[in-house]
Amino acid sequence: MSTNSAVLQSGEDAWGLPSRGKVGMISLIIAESAIFAIFVAAYIFYIGKSLSGPTPQILQIPILASICLWLSSVTMHWSVVALHKNKKSTFILFWLLTFVLGAIFLGATAREWHHLIVDEGFTIQTNLFGTTYYSLVGLHASHVTFGLIALFIVGLFGLAGKVTTEHSDRCEVIALYWHFVDAVWVVVFTVVYLLGR
């Protein structure tokens, strides 16, 4: 036997490999980006192709909600940074703030949809604009929902004082997902509310 085959504990962490959690989440983000790309392509392709009304002019730009969502990326970042430094109370404060900001965004989307469906009578069946609008914005809103569920669960553990600096890698994985959801909203916002109108 060669002397090279030293006994080591395990492959992971032994010589500074990338974290598998982050690599897995980045892989998921790439896959999700491809799904969004297809829905965005469909949206752009069908702009102005509806055979009947209403047109995208009925949309109102959700400025406040968007600012809340993008701001939540900042609070998420501060939260994870605080966890790295083991500042537990700062972590939980910003983590819950992130949750609240995300929830405000989702609530605003719900209000917008309620207005469109009930007041305007505009649904996914109405025309191509309805089809692409509800599917693209809905796809994003479902991602926000999944993110909020993850934030909520970790938030509960955090309030119970169970989240410590050793969990910061895992929280960073969730943070990656949340940043992705916010970044996608930049694209969706641009396409739906700026380009589409």
Binding site: M1, S2, N4, S5, A6, V7, L8, Q9, S10, G11, E12, A14, W15, L17, P18, S19, R20, G21, V23, G24, S27, L28, I30, A31, E32, S33, A34, I35, A37, I38, F39, A42, F45, Y46, K49, S50, L51, I124, Q125, N127, L128, G130, T131, T132, Y134, S135, L139
Partner: protein
Amino acid sequence: MATQTLPPSAVPVAHKSGALRTILEWMGTADHKKIGLMYIVYAVLFLVVMGIEAILMRIQLAHANSTFLSPQVFNRLFTMHGTTGVFFVAMPILVGFGNYLVPLMIGARDMAFPRLNAFSFWVTAFSGFLLYGSFFAGGGFSQAGIAPDVGWFAYAPLTAPAFSPGHSTDYWTLSIMLAGVGSIAGAANMIATVIGMRCPGMTMSRLPLFAWMNLVMGGLILVTISPLTAAQLMLMGDRYLGSHFFDVAAGGSVVMWMHFFWIFGHPEVYVLIIPCFGFISEIVPVFSRKAMFGYPAMVAASVGIGFVSLGVWAHHMFTVGMPSYGNAFFVLTTMVVAVPTGIKIFNWLATMWGGKIRFDAPMLFCTGFLFQFLIAGLTGIMLATAPFDWQLGNSYFVVAHFHYVIVGGILFSIFAAFYYWFPKMTGRMLSETLGKWHFWVFLIGFHLTFDFLHIPGLLGMPRRVYTYDAGRGWETWNFIASIGTIFQVIGILIFVYNMIQAYIQGPVAGNDPWDAWTLEWATTSPPPEYNLARIPEVRSRRPLWDIKHPEDPDWKYE
């Protein structure tokens, strides 16, 4: 019986405890080797199913004006044959080998996410059974049609509720979406494993080529299966929520489905062939007794193929009609694929050149692969030329071309992988004589069927016709092609008999029956649950060679 000479871990668990306990153990396992084996067994099961579907179609097409099958049944058969072949045979069998071998090759104890791995398998398994559930329940309350009959690429508007009443298309779209979820989770897992679980010293430039290919495959799955999932979401919206993505009456476009499907569909071919490149790149050097020629070029060519394959999809749509610059773009990108593929073929040939080649069964199948994959590539270049495709698109020439890739390329390399790694997975050697019989009989059957299918295609026979009139010059070629399936079936039966026979009473394999160089051969056959007792420190691309030859290790030259 030679059982007593096996290590304890090789004794099948069924001998130790009740059958129920064994079933529960396999159902609850998160061990990458067991999950890999389940993938492989599951895929072989569906290989038999899709084979039976193919045989039924070949019986129908053996003669002109045959009435063996009704047109409706024929439509269901080719739809199920194609869908099963891509999603429930080729994908799971390759993922299974990857699952089993990659952690062993990179010196890891398991995949990065073992439970996610189990989830991927069970979702995939469930989706396959869901697809076949349509045979029993696909009619729904309206009783219109059972199994899906819209073709494996399910062009709109065939899938619209008006043209696909009942639930057969719902079964198709749901099961494919589910299989996609399993594939994407599996791909993320594979990428995290290859990047984050390598043993010390296993740098990316020392990674076994099979692990490299699985990494490329994983990356491709992420960006190709997801568009398919998105398209299936849209189709479900159209069928259930009344949206209008592919609804021409509301201004929607059916061509958009084609684009979305082939954005998935073409790279999918590379998802399937790239791990097969991995098989060939592991087997050819061992049986040529030479290190792999041009390792960096091989990696670069594979990554290159992965990228180029993302920009070629519309060569499936030349006959739909595109502007001339669209045609020119997709003709050129498709032809570019030939460059990295050519690099690979020359690398394998250069590895064999001057080597002490042992023509055991794995190497025979690899050699068959090299010839057949080359021919499949050449007919591919013919079809990539738009004017040629205008003549022969949707003809039997296309069918012959892609079966040359899938059977002559992918299936042959999978057989090679079975002969090569079966001893590692079971601890038993397959019979070499039966292996050679399998190879030659199957080779004859393959060439009888698929060489001769090119000709009716050139003579204008369209694909997916359930029968044809006599006197068009198609009968002889179709009859020969159908005869070929008999040889293929005999070949497969020899193979299955060989595996069962070897599993029960084959000669004991030992750790390293082929005198190979990658880490999976450094442990017992079958490997223990923890894989390698000691995680080695890797210093070259052939770590086991270094361990066997401390006086002349590879790392002195790399």
